[in-house]
Symmetry: C2
Subunit: 315 residues, 2 copies
Amino acid sequence: MSARPELASLESLAEFKAKRVLASSEKSKYVALEGELAGERAVVRVTKKHLPCSELAELSKWASGEMKLGCTLQNDVYAKYDGVCRGEDDAGAIGGVNVDVICPASDKHVAKYTAAEMVMISETGEAARLVTEAYVASVGEDALAWVYNILEGKAEADRVIFADDDVDTGFVLLPDLKWDGANAEQLYVVVLPHRRGIRTLRSLRAEHLPLLRNIAGPGKAAVAAHYGVPVSELQAFVHYVPSYFHFHVHITHVKCDIADASLGRAHLLDDVIGNLAAFGDEYYQQATLGLLLQRGSVLEAAHAAYNARPHDVPR
Amino acid sequence: MSARPELASLESLAEFKAKRVLASSEKSKYVALEGELAGERAVVRVTKKHLPCSELAELSKWASGEMKLGCTLQNDVYAKYDGVCRGEDDAGAIGGVNVDVICPASDKHVAKYTAAEMVMISETGEAARLVTEAYVASVGEDALAWVYNILEGKAEADRVIFADDDVDTGFVLLPDLKWDGANAEQLYVVVLPHRRGIRTLRSLRAEHLPLLRNIAGPGKAAVAAHYGVPVSELQAFVHYVPSYFHFHVHITHVKCDIADASLGRAHLLDDVIGNLAAFGDEYYQQATLGLLLQRGSVLEAAHAAYNARPHDVPR
């Protein structure tokens, strides 16, 4: 490559002619642009800085004294505001922020907003039977009243976008509450089968293949058709351990980041079908499954106790 | 719950006494605080707004005219700046940003910064043999020179944090280049085994269990000891399809979000060991594995052609 004078250091982007947005992330707050600078093609990527919160004192300064708020919502203990913050000088300018205020806040509110400490454990088939199954059994079926209400048409009937009434292989589809329904790249639909008694991924047997294939094929196709998204950009997965114990499937856009698709929790439905088709009933009784669990949660504590027990066999 | 007067709408957080940071995300730019407001416990969550980029015209306005830049790095075509943006009025104030400028930019630069369109395919064992294996075979071994340099101590020797020299079960550990080495929650270490010829996850057989268990046990423990992080907060996983075809493992903190842990790519090492231990050599020859691929990439095009072929058997 021939030597070439470097572009002089810029003091602003006044000369930059933006031509195209290459990428933009609502979650990570960046935008990448293609354009022209001093007659040459240029790429410019702008990323918002994190809030200055290394020191509580520093943080209090901008949060308390220098933020103007405009109320956008107020309901019971919850309020939302548009905020504009200014630092003491240009270098400290913080810019526009969204502010949520909960007051008075309960222990539950504080816990909900506190970053959870997570641990990864490996659950063998034996640990699933001895630990997780007991945990699942301890959760009463009345926690599923809301699911049965949907399946029986007693609740959220206007939200259902597709229904297949077969008692063995049928299901209803409805958008997840976390999705705004507008941004196609955050598409997030929940699949609730009519069939009861399948409590988790570990309960799946080869006999469930017709149900699973009906979700992976016609179910995913119905989502694609309803929202005008190519099937190839959708993924279907199940959670293990799920948050409620009526078997269900998540269908999302592959770019969706509001659904939990983390290692140690999300399992692709097509992989599950492949495991049952190739290895039969044994697969989910024998497989080792990583579990990402909240430290100190009931299930994590139960697994910790199980793993700390004296072992009969050398490991 | 007894009725209670609502908190008057706030005009600033001047009265808020911050006491504790509950959570803070560098990636998503938010901070959650516990403190006191009007004598009551309160939770306040502040989230940076996304950059205003719904319209290119609007975007050009703030990007070109109203951003002051301070250069922090300049090297060949790459430059980095600290930027401070001001909108026309308070409501439009944008705040502090990081700006990357690449000029002149090549096609490759533009492609790298362009949001990739991704598709999810399901790879059967047959598709792996007929499509992916051919693709992997087409990539010459000379692309692995940098790996062999590390394994032979000819490069990056000062970065290696642990080495086990056994030719069958040994490996070296070194921090991934994407990790700054400082933030423990982004901990990201790469494991390079000495053993050659294992090109991907699909190549794994029961004979590799001693190597895999040596990584999952002593390897993870060495990372934990070196960086002072509990083993329970680490996860080990492999990519399928990987970006280079010398078998390797990623060890990260469970909260790390700079490593690719996406569905259709990341597979927990303990799950892999469980599959080989319970189902033997057959597992990775028969399993269906979802692949998240860049639309239009060589591998995605090859799979699309394979899936579009006439089928001998009804599906």
